[in-house]
C-alpha cells in the first residue's frame, strides 16, 4: 500500500488532501468532523481584523447544474470569517492540540499595512498552527475594501505583503493567488520574490451565475439585486490545471511549491494536479456538495492508483507531467493522426458526422451501400478530435497515429522526424534549419 504522507514546506500531513480555506473550515466543530473523516489537513477559513465582517442574510451560493441536478459549478459571495478573531484563535489552538498529526494552515486577510500584519502574525503563531496562507484571491466584497483579489491583482503588493509576513513570522508562508488576472505567472513570481515559501491556486473566478428572466436581475439575488461572486467546482478544474502548469513550468517559479485548488472532486483530479506539480491539493466544493466522507474515496483511489503504477510515495510522481507541457510552437507538426470509428461499438447516432459536416472538415461519411454507416474519409480528416469529443460511446472513436505511408489529406509522405512551427516554411519568423 502506497504511502500517502506528505511533507509540504515541512508541514507534515498523513495524506495530501487538505480542505481549502472556506466555510468547511470556519469552525472547530467542522474541522474536527473533517479530521475524524480522515482529511490530512485544513486551511482555516480566513481570519481578519476585529470587528469581524458580516455576511448577507440572503443566498450566499448559486449553482450550475446538469439536467440531473449534479452540481457542476458553485458560486459564492461569502466573506472571510464572520466571527471574532479571538474565538477563531482559541479554536485553532484547541484543534491543533487535539490533532497534532494533521496540518493546520491559517488563512489571513488584513489591510495592506505592515502594522496590521505584524499585529496578527504572533497571534496566529501562538496557536501552534503549521503555517499561514495569505488570501490574495477573494474576488468579492473584500476586494472592494482593498483586500483579497485587489492585492492579488497587483504583483507589487503581493511581493510586499509576502515580504512583511516572512519578516515577521517563523511560520511557512503560502500565497493564495487569484485567477482573475491576465498572466498567473506574474503574481507567482512576485510571491517568490517576496520570499513566500509556496503558492496555492486558484481562488475563485469572478462569476455571475445567471439572470432571473422574470425579475431581470442576476441570480441568485438579494432583495432584487445581485453581485458577482466567486466560481468554483468541477467546472473550473481545467482553468486551474492550466494556471498550475504555467507556474510549474515557468523557469522563474518552477521550484516554488504549489498547493493546488480548483474543482478537485476525485482522486484522479488530485493525481492530475499533483502530476502537474502540486505537493498537496485543497478541496472545498466537493466537500460542500457531498460532505467530508468523499476523502475516503480520494485516499483509497490515489493509493490504489499509486500501487498500480508502482509509486510508493507521493514525491515519486509529483511534477512528472510538467516536462510534457510545452508551447504550441514546439508541438510536432509531422505527427499525423486519423479518426477511426469502431463499427462494433458504434450506435449510429450520427453526431460525429453532423458536427464534422456542419462545423469542421466534412470528413465523416454517413452512408455506405445505402445503409446508415459512419466512416472516416482520410482524405479530409485533420485529426482534430471533435468526433471523439462528441461521441457518446467511450472508446468508439479513437485516433490512429500514422507512422508510415502517405497522409491521404495532404498527399505528403508521413515524415517520421520531429518538426515544429519554429522551422516551418510557412513561418515568416522561422529559424533556419541547421
Amino acid at each position: 500500500m502506497a504511502n500517502l504522507q506528505t511533507n509540504f514546506l515541512g508541514i507534515k500531513s498523513p495524506n495530501p488532501f487538505w480542505l481549502a480555506s472556506a466555510p468547511p473550515t470556519d469552525r472547530e466543530v467542522n474541522v474536527t468532523r473533517a479530521f475524524k473523516a480522515g482529511w490530512g489537513g485544513v486551511v482555516w477559513k480566513t481570519l481578519g481584523e476585529d470587528p469581524h465582517v458580516v455576511n448577507v442574510n440572503g443566498p450566499r451560493y448559486g449553482a450550475v447544474h446538469s439536467n440531473d441536478r449534479r452540481l457542476i459549478g458553485l458560486n459564492n459571495i461569502e466573506l472571510i470569517t464572520d466571527r471574532p478573531l479571538e474565538v477563531n484563535l482559541r479554536e485553532i489552538k484547541a484543534v491543533k492540540k487535539a490533532w497534532p498529526d494533521r496540518a493546520i494552515v491559517v488563512s489571513l486577510m488584513v489591510p495592506c499595512e505592515e502594522e496590521a500584519w505584524k499585529k496578527i502574525l504572533p497571534l496566529v503563531e501562538e496557536t501552534g498552527a503549521d503555517g499561514i496562507e495569505l488570501n490574495f484571491g477573494c474576488p468579492h466584497g473584500m476586494s472592494e475594501r482593498g483586500m483579497g483579489a485587489a492585492v492579488g491583482q497587483v504583483p507589487e503588493y503581493v511581493e510586499m505583503v509576502a515580504r512583511w509576513c516572512k519578516q515577521n513570522t517563523r511560520m511557512p508562508v503560502i500565497v493564495k493567488l487569484t485567477p482573475n488576472i491576465t498572466d498567473i505567472r506574474q503574481p507567482a513570481r512576485a510571491a517568490k520574490k517576496g520570499g513566500a515559501d509556496a503558492v496555492s491556486l486558484i481562488n475563485t473566478i469572478n462569476s455571475v451565475m445567471g439572470v432571473d428572466l422574470d425579475i431581470m436581475a442576476p441570480s441568485p439575488h438579494i432583495d432584487g439585486k445581485g453581485t458577482h461572486g466567486g466560481y468554483c467546482g468541477p467546472a473550473v478544474k481545467p482553468i486551474a490545471l492550466s494556471m498550475v502548469s504555467e507556474i510549474a513550468r515557468d523557469p522563474e517559479t518552477k521550484d516554488l511549491p504549489i498547493s493546488a485548488i480548483g474543482g478537485i472532486t476525485t482522486w484522479r483530479d488530485a493525481a492530475e494536479f499533483m502530476a502537474m506539480g502540486a505537493g498537496t491539493v485543497q478541496v472545498c466544493t466537493a466537500a460542500m456538495t457531498y460532505g467530508f466522507k468523499i476523502v475516503e474515496e480520494m485516499k483509497s483511489g490515489l493509493s490504489d492508483w499509486m500501487d498500480g503504477k508502482g509509486y510508493s510515495s507521493i514525491d515519486q510522481f509529483v511534477g512528472r507531467a510538467v516536462p510534457n507541457v510545452t508551447d504550441w510552437q514546439y508541438l510536432n507538426l509531422n505527427y499525423v493522426v486519423k479518426a477511426r470509428i469502431d463499427q462494433e461499438s458504434c450506435i449510429k447516432c450520427g453526431r460525429c458526422h453532423i458536427v464534422c459536416e456542419d462545423t469542421s472538415h466534412q470528413a465523416i461519411w454517413a452512408e455506405k451501400d445505402g445503409q446508415r454507416h459512419f466512416e472516416v474519409n482520410d482524405a479530409e480528416c485533420v485529426g482534430c478530435n471533435l468526433c471523439v469529443s462528441v461521441c457518446p460511446v467511450e472508446g468508439c472513436i479513437t485516433m490512429e497515429h500514422l507512422t508510415e505511408g502517405v497522409d491521404a489529406r495532404t498527399g505528403q509522405p508521413i515524415n517520421p522526424e520531429y518538426g515544429n512551427w519554429t522551422t516551418h516554411p510557412n513561418n515568416p519568423m522561422r529559424v533556419a534549419a541547421e
Binding site: N67, I347, K348, G350
Partner: protein
Amino acid sequence: MPSDIRGDRLSPAEVESNFADLHPLLSKYEAYVEADRCYFCHDAPCVTACPTGIDIPLFIRQILTDNPSGSAKTILGANILGGMCARVCPTETLCEQACVRETAEQKPVRIGELQRYATDHLMAAGVHPFERAASTGRKVAVVGAGPAGISCAHRLSMLGHDVTIFEAKPKGGGLNEYGIAAYKAVDEFARRELDFVLAIGGIELKIGMALGRDVALDALIADYDAVFLGLGLGATNGLGIAGEQLEGVVDAVDFIEDLRQAPALEKVAVGRRVVVIGGGMTAIDAAVQSKLLGAEEVTLVYRRGADRMNASAYEQSLAKEKGVVLKHWARPEKIEAGADGKVAAISFMKTRDEDGKLVDTGERYTLEADMVLKAIGQAFTPAPLKGAKAEIALEGGRIKAGADRRTSHPKVWAGGDAVAGGEDLTVAAVEDGKQAALSIHAALTGA
C-alpha cells in the same frame, strides 16, 4: 358450473385503482433527466421510425430547455393526435426500437412518455396552438371521426378549407373513444383531445350520420370539393366453429366498446372464467381489462407462437403481469354449452408450424369458460359504398389508395384502417389523414 357473467366483481375503489393511468405523467424533474438522455442524433432513426415523422430529437431538446409548449407544437405539427399516440403507440416497435440508446444499452429514451409530458402541458394550457390559413372557400367532407378523419380535417382546416365530418356513432374519436384500453386513456382523454383538435375552428362534426344510411357518397361528391373516407373497420371476423352463437360468446371489440362507454366500470359484466381468442392488441386489451374487472381466470389463446402475435412484446408482458395466462399453438374447435344453455367450455386443437404452414397436431384440450371473447381480427365493410354511382376500387377487401391516399375516384381520398396495406395503428391513421389533406389541398389549390 353455471355461467357467472356479472358486474361488481370488485369494489368501485379496486376497479378505479386497477384502471388507473398505465404510465402516469412524468414530473418535471423526471422529464429533464429522461430528456437529457437523448443524444440529439443526426437524421435520427427514431424520426424515420415514426409513421408521422415527428422531429423527436427537437421536441425532446425543447423539453430539456424548459420549453414544453414549443415541444408540443413540434409534436402536434407533425401529428395532431400526438397526445393519444403518446399513450397508445407501440413505441417499443417504432421510435423507441430505433433509438440508438436501445442499441447502446437496451434502454431507449422513453420517447412516448416525454411526448405525453409535452402534449399534456400544452393541452392543460387550453390554447389551440395552430391558426387557420386564409379561407380558400373550398369545402371538404370527411367521413368518420376516427384518428384518420380527425387528422385529415384538422390539416385541411389549417390550410384554409372548411370541413364537415360525418360520424355514424354518437361520439367522435373512433377507436380512441371506443376501442383503446381504458387505462391507456384515462380521464376522458379521447374526448378532451377531440375538443382540443376541433378548437382550431372550421370543422363541423355531425354525429349520428352514417355513410350509406344517412348520407350518400354520391351526394357528398356532388356537394363537396373533395371527400375523405376514414371509415375504419366495421365488421369482426368470426371463429366459424360450433357454439359461436351461444350466450357468453362476445366480440372483444364490443366488449371493449361497452366498457369504454360504461358510466361505472365496476358495473361492466365479465365472466368468472374468460377465454380470449386472438393475438393482437384487441385480444390483449380485452384480456387485461377482463382481469382488471375481476375475472378470476383469464386465458388468451393464440394459434401460433408468441413471436407471431401482433401484440407487441411489451403488451404481452403487460398481460402476463396483470395475471392473464397466455397460451400459444392452439386453435378453437368447439364452444360447449352447459346445463343453462350458456357457454361452459371451449375446446382447442393444438397446432404446430410445418414449413410455415399451420397444421393440427391431433392433441386436444378444453378450457372451462363462461365468457369467450373473440379477437381474431376485423374486416372492412364495403356496404356504405355500395349502390353509389361513384366507384371506389377495393384491394384485398379494403379501399385501394395510393401514396397520396387518393382512391380510384378523383374526388375521393381515404385513410386509416379502411385502406389496404396499412398497419392498423392510430399513428398510421393520423399520417394517412395528414397526407390525404395535403394531397387534397394540392388538388384543390394547385399548390
